[in-house]
């Protein structure tokens, strides 16, 4: 009975994988893109990730690096597209989430062998925001206590040193 149940579940899971909903282009995570770079080379792909750091302006075009949690990659887009991005990720901010569709290159000849995506279309799916750098009271207390202790030890050290000097 148990064996039959197991086999049934297995068959069910297997067939469930076959029912992939038909989408135009599925969003791929950046790490899969990089790991299977040869498969995706010169293909149109869609990625979705957070814009990080800042725009690297190169005249009419610009680089925007995006990170989707699995890995990060550079997107080559027009300067005007880059200008629409308002928030970039860093310590204090979460950047805008961008959904990029474009051609993936494993060794882009235009960019000296870089792994990149030349953007065909870009969509800002989520706005970024400022992160609250709230300090926990326990941390503040710990810091004060330790700082005072350190100062006391410094004082003791110099006192002992003075006493020991001939």
């Amino acid at each position: 009975m148990r064996k039959a149940l197991k086999q049934f579940l297995l068959a069910f899971m297997f067939s469930a994988c076959l029912f992939v909903p038909a989408e135009a282009i599925k969003t791929i995570d950046i790490n899969s893109l990089v790991t299977c770079a040869e498969t995706y080379d010169n293909q149109a792909v869609t990625v979705e990730g957070e814009a990080i750091g800042e725009v690297l302006d190169r005249g009419d075009y610009a680089w925007v690096n995006i990170n989707d949690g699995t890995n990060a990659i550079g997107i080559w887009m027009t300067a005007s597209e880059a200008e629409t991005i308002e928030n970039f990720g860093d310590y204090k901010h979460i950047g805008d989430t961008l959904k990029i569709t474009g051609v993936f290159s494993r060794n882009c000849t235009e960019h000296g062998g870089d792994v990149d995506i030349h953007c065909a279309s870009m969509e800002i799916t989520k706005s970024g925001y400022r992160i609250d750098d709230k300090v926990s009271s326990s941390k503040a207390v710990a810091a004060s206590v330790l700082l005072c202790s350190a100062l006391i030890i410094v004082y003791i050290y110099f006192k002992v040193l003075k006493r020991l000097k001939p």
Partner: protein, 506 residues
């Protein structure tokens, strides 16, 4: 205390000097602290207040416990030099990981210690998560660790020594250097720092300007310039973002880093000689010659194979993606502009092996670089040639082989033996680390690549290093980075001392 005999003098000496070094590094934590305050990053600022306080307390307590060293002017034997260097590196590994742990960017104490050891040893492998959202203070700290580690914590402490101590040179040697630029080791340490600081200013300025040209804002360009210079000069390989050098998408920026990490890789003796006007040293030095030969050879082999197999098609791509990474590996820097997965999937076994050899040969002796060191490879190579010549030449003739390293040196059996033994130690360490990787199921080429990267303190990754890697493997990597950087002797001395101490009191 009228009794002038000190009980357990070894304890006092070790405690005092280790405490001294710890205190010195604790003071340096002030720099990231100030950085965070300036950037209004309150959590990191408190993290550094905590770390600094803990380190100051421990450092000063150790100095107080060992104060007899100073008052009674205890003699520092050779073994203490090595033990102090090895011990301070271990204690600092824990203390300097406190800011990482408090930031929440590391998944465990082990990961935090891994990153600190990676910084100290100028390796450059990273287990810190989410680099793109790291605070400026913590990024400042990471890159500082690699800059200080490159020069050496002991070297830093020695340059601030108030009174001249006889044991200074012995502790200095414990950190893997033995070059004496001037007879006084304190001044040698200061010269090493002077050269590094002058380059720090020049390099940061150059990268700052280049950064702005490629599109970074003035503030970012400055910070990135500072971080990248520190990382390049120390041949560390840390970068402020997840993508390492790929973040910049710039040939110019990459070339600048090549200049700085290639210059950062030689021996300070070489810099000192050239800065004193002896320009010929650049050409006559045996390490420069050997590096020139091996780097050209390995680059040529890699480019030949990879361009033939179609991995990279044009000259610029080949230079940027192949030569850059071979040089980064050979100088044991670790800046990468290809993804780890690409080494694994696209470079093939030949490409990977070329990288392994480059990483193991490494850079120059008494420098920030890792690996066997070019000097030893040259000495052993010349030793073999000399032995062959001895067999072939008439029995009565006496041949004296020389090699030029700062000055002319005679190649005697003792020198060859010493070099060969250290190379053997490196090879054994590399083999054990590779073995452990394969034990955990990683393919041979990948285990070997990662093992070479840790043993040679390189920092390039083929994908094995990651938060999900087995804990024991991470421990082995930490050990390998540590042994590789301190060149075995100090760590063996520490180990031997501890075992000897246990045996005595058991």
């Amino acid at each position: 205390m009228t009794n002038t005999q000190v009980r357990f003098p070894s304890f006092h000496i070790i405690s005092y000097y280790t405490g001294y070094i710890i205190f010195g590094i604790a003071v340096l934590m002030g720099i990231p602290l100030i950085t965070s305050l300036l950037m209004a990053e309150w959590n990191p600022a408190l993290d550094f207040v905590i770390s600094m306080s803990v380190s100051v307390i421990i450092g000063l307590l150790m100095m107080l416990l060992g104060r007899r060293t100073r008052t009674d002017e205890l003699q520092v034997d050779w073994k203490f030099g090595f033990i102090i260097a090895a011990l301070s590196w271990i204690m600092l590994m824990f203390l300097c990981s406190i800011p990482y742990l408090l930031s929440g960017h590391t998944k465990s104490l082990l990961d935090g210690c891994f990153d600190v050891m990676s910084g100290f040893t100028t390796t450059g492998l990273v287990l810190t998560q989410n680099l793109d959202h790291l605070s400026t203070g913590l990024n400042m700290w990471r890159h500082m660790l690699t800059f200080i580690g490159g020069q050496g914590m002991v070297v830093l402490a020695l340059s601030f020594l108030g009174k001249h101590i006889g044991g200074a040179y012995k502790i200095y040697c414990g950190e893997g250097k033995d070059i004496k630029l001037v007879p006084n080791v304190k001044y040698t340490a200061r010269i090493i720092w002077k050269i590094s600081v002058i380059y720090l200013f020049t390099g940061t300025l150059a990268l700052w300007i280049c950064g702005m040209v490629i599109g970074l804002s003035p503030l970012s360009a400055f910070l990135h310039g500072l971080y990248i210079f520190e990382s390049a000069w120390s041949t560390g390989g840390f970068a402020p973002n997840t993508q390492n050098m790929m973040y910049y998408h710039s040939f110019a920026y990459e070339v600048m880093t090549i200049v700085f990490f290639v210059l950062g890789s030689p021996n300070f003796g070489l810099h000192y000689a050239i800065w004193q006007g002896k320009k010929k040293e650049m050409i006559k030095n045996v390490e420069v010659q050997s590096f020139f030969i091996t780097s050209f050879l390995l680059s040529a082999l890699a480019v030949l194979k990879l361009s033939q197999s179609g991995v990279y098609t044009n000259a610029v791509s080949c230079f940027r993606r192949i030569v850059y990474n071979v040089l980064s590996a050979h100088t044991t820097t670790g800046f990468g502009n290809v993804y780890a997965a690409q080494f694994a999937n696209e470079w093939g076994d030949f490409g990977i092996l070329v990288m392994v050899i480059a990483m193991l040969i490494g850079g120059s002796a008494c420098s920030t670089a890792g690996g066997f060191k070019g000097l030893r490879v040259s000495i052993v190579f010349k030793g073999i040639i000399s032995d062959v010549k001895k067999i072939l030449s008439p029995e009565r003739s006496i041949r004296v082989i020389k090699y030029h390293h700062i000055k002319d040196n005679v190649l005697d059996d003792g020198t060859v033996r010493a070099s060969a033994l250290v190379i053997v130690c490196y090879v054994v360490l590399f083999a054990i680390t590779t073995l452990l990787g394969t034990f955990y199921g990683y393919p041979l080429a990948e285990s070997a690549f990662e093992a070479a990267s840790v043993t040679g303190n390189v920092g390039l990754s083929i994908g094995v290093t990651g938060a999900a890697a087995p804990a024991l493997l991470k421990v082995q990597y930490i050990l390998a980075m540590y042994l590789g950087r301190l060149e075995f002797l100090s760590v063996f001395a520490l180990f031997g001392f501890v075992i000897g101490g246990i045996k005595k009191h058991a």
